[in-house]
């Protein structure tokens, strides 16, 4: 069976979806890339405000839950037209899937109809606990004090449970290795890592069990891991803002492919997703 080209963009809140979509839209609308707009999207209000902020050299703002609308960008590439669907711009619905362990029929439809999933993860924001297996010997606390024990669940838990749940919604089991949906894991805000490592190495370093899970569950050629810096640098100084004002936002941002090659054309991300 061949995968269709409909692409679902998934990410928890603050995983970098807004900045990417704004930069992508900027490039498509300015026609300096291979991807062209099929027709103007119905509702791009939230993206437009992000585009405006970037044009002023300001970082985008986290999407408010009230602006949590479905975003559909109809695009064309090599005479094929298809939709990029970001059903959950703010990422709230995605967090709710694992929070309440439920999803509505709309999500079921989305997981079934889109054969390509792009998952946004921001590795710079992930924390890792020290535990006994890493530290060696330590004393056992005689005063049992659970208050300082964080009850928060780990990021690895979140991402594994999210994919398990979305696969369940699509009725895909793990009995045999998954070919469809194709999975592109995008490690966002790559610039804040200050690294020369490959994207797969960063994923293994930050989320080793999650990476092991993906590798066990998906067929080797059915998933890919890349890096993305939509902004290229933080927009927190006057100097950085001036750069954006002078050279325009579409001059900034890059992708890091699986071989560590940097690519300025952010729309290549969509091509990579289509070629898995």
């Amino acid at each position: 069976m061949e995968a269709n080209n409909s692409t679902l963009i998934i990410g928890l809140p603050k995983s970098g979806k807004t900045t990417f979509l704004a930069q992508l839209y900027n490039r498509i609308i300015n026609k300096n890339c291979r991807i062209t707009l099929g027709k103007t999207p119905d509702n791009i209000k939230s993206i437009l405000s992000a585009c405006e902020r970037l044009a002023e050299g300001k970082p985008t703002e986290p999407t408010a839950a009230s602006e949590n609308v479905k975003l559909v960008i109809p695009v064309e590439l090599d005479n094929k037209s298809f939709d990029l669907i970001c059903p959950d711009y703010g990422g709230e619905q995605v967090s709710n899937v694992t929070e309440f362990m439920e999803y509505d029929n709309n999500w079921q439809k989305l997981t079934k109809e889109n054969d390509r999933w792009i998952l946004f993860i921001r590795p710079g924001e992930l924390y890792h606990h020290y535990d006994l297996s890493l530290k060696g010997y330590t004393d056992i606390d005689s005063k049992r004090d659970n208050s300082s024990l964080e009850n928060q669940l780990s990021h690895q838990y979140l991402f594994i449970e999210l994919l398990q749940s979305l696969l369940y919604a699509r009725d895909v089991g793990v009995k045999s290795k998954i070919n469809i949906p194709k999975l592109l894991i995008v490690l966002t805000c790559w610039d804040e890592l200050g690294t020369t490592k490959k994207p797969i190495e960063i994923l293994i370093e930050k989320l080793p069990m999650f990476s092991h899970f993906i590798d066990t569950v998906w067929k080797t050629n059915s998933y890919k891991i890349i890096g993305l810096s939509s902004q290229e640098f933080p927009l927190d100084t006057k100097e950085a803002q001036d750069k954006y004002l002078d050279d325009l936002p579409e001059s900034f941002g890059y992708l890091v492919d699986e071989n560590n090659t940097h690519e300025k054309d952010l729309t290549k991300l969509i091509e990579i997703a289509l070629n898995i």
């Binding site: 509505d104 079921q108 535990d131 297996s133 793990v174 069990m209």
Partner: protein, 324 residues
């Protein structure tokens, strides 16, 4: 105008009508002529919520059906005295996987009890004061069950593994009287597990000496009674201190194991790592489970050829009517 059923959950006409549980869906009161536009509206309003069938918490025996549709889950029972490190062992398995350690031939393919695993592992996290809390004693009420799930892929096959955690107190009751009214969950674990991990607590042996040894003998003999060919690993837990055990007591426990559980594989583990990778902590904790996984999946010898010489079994003695 098209004909449809107004009940969105009814599979008719593809399946049986849910009202009459028959194929005669056209007789059903909900089978109506519906305007296509109405139908679209209905679909829109019907943002029905689908509940994911697992919660992430530990499973109870009745929850096993969640997994049994795809494979027969393999249950590994943990047995040992209170504070022998059974729960910590499970926490350590998850912690090791969490940090990227792997089994040699068994790859992690997810879990339906991730929250329960995370709860176990939190006790091994270093707190801001640099110390750790070990898990609180596992509840000893007789209806307490907690099964921890791992889906693992070996070559092309997915196996569902369930670790059954138990309270040491309950196993002590069971060791002295297998019919003890308060040992129901120990009985369940003993009769339903496909394999066992038997924990011997080095620190308890150091401190309790002969007294601890006596309890180990009692428990080992009870485990052996109906073990049959189910694989078992004998684990010396907290083995970073194993050298402090009096040699005569250690020899005597080893002899007990040899006597009651001659087939057991014996290994030392610890939650404290001296090196990275560390043998006791990193390698051996995983090896305990991997040994059992491998054993459980070994092709079983089929005993198809009955020994019929000198049998008294009339089935084998029957030579057909022509012989009479």
């Amino acid at each position: 105008m098209i004909k449809t059923c107004t009940n969105p959950d009814c599979p008719a006409p593809k399946g049986l009508c849910v009202e009459s549980i028959s194929p005669e869906y056209q007789q059903c009161q909900y089978w109506n002529e519906t305007d296509e536009e109405d139908l679209k509206k209905e679909v829109k309003n019907n943002a029905k919520v689908n509940v994911i069938p697992w919660s992430g918490l530990a499973l109870h025996p009745e929850g096993i059906k969640l997994l049994s549709h795809r494979s027969k889950p393999l249950i590994i029972g943990t047995i040992g005295a209170p504070n022998a490190g059974k729960t910590s062992y499970l926490g350590m398995i998850y912690t090791l996987l969490f940090n990227g350690k792997k089994f040699d031939n068994w790859n992690f393919a997810g879990s339906h009890t991730l929250i329960a695993w995370e709860n176990l592992a939190k006790y091994l996290k270093i707190k801001p004061n640099g110390k750790v809390d070990f898990p609180e004693p596992t509840p000893s009420n007789s209806d307490y069950y907690s099964l921890y799930h791992l889906a693992l892929r070996n070559k092309e096959t997915i196996y569902d593994i369930l670790y059954a955690d138990s309270s040491g107190e309950v196993f002590n009751l069971w060791a002295n009287d297998v019919n003890d009214i308060n040992a129901e969950n120990a009985r369940w674990i003993y009769s339903n597990s496909d394999a066992f991990i038997f924990f011997i607590d080095c620190v308890s042996v150091i401190e309790g000496r002969g007294r601890t040894k006596q309890a180990i003998v009692q428990l080992a003999s009870q485990i052996a009674s109906n073990l049959n060919d189910r694989p078992i690993v004998v684990v010396w837990s907290k083995a970073d201190r194993i050298d402090e055990i009096r040699p005569n007591i250690k020899a005597s426990i080893e002899q007990t194991i040899e006597q009651f559980l001659p087939q057991a594989y014996t290994i030392e583990i610890s939650n404290f790592s001296k090196n990275d990778p560390d043998v006791l902590c990193h390698k051996n904790n995983l090896a305990v489970s991997e040994y059992l996984f491998d054993k459980l999946c070994e092709p079983k010898k089929m005993e198809m050829i009955p020994e019929i010489e000198n049998t008294t079994d009339i089935f084998f003695k029957y030579r057909g009517t022509y012989g009479s």
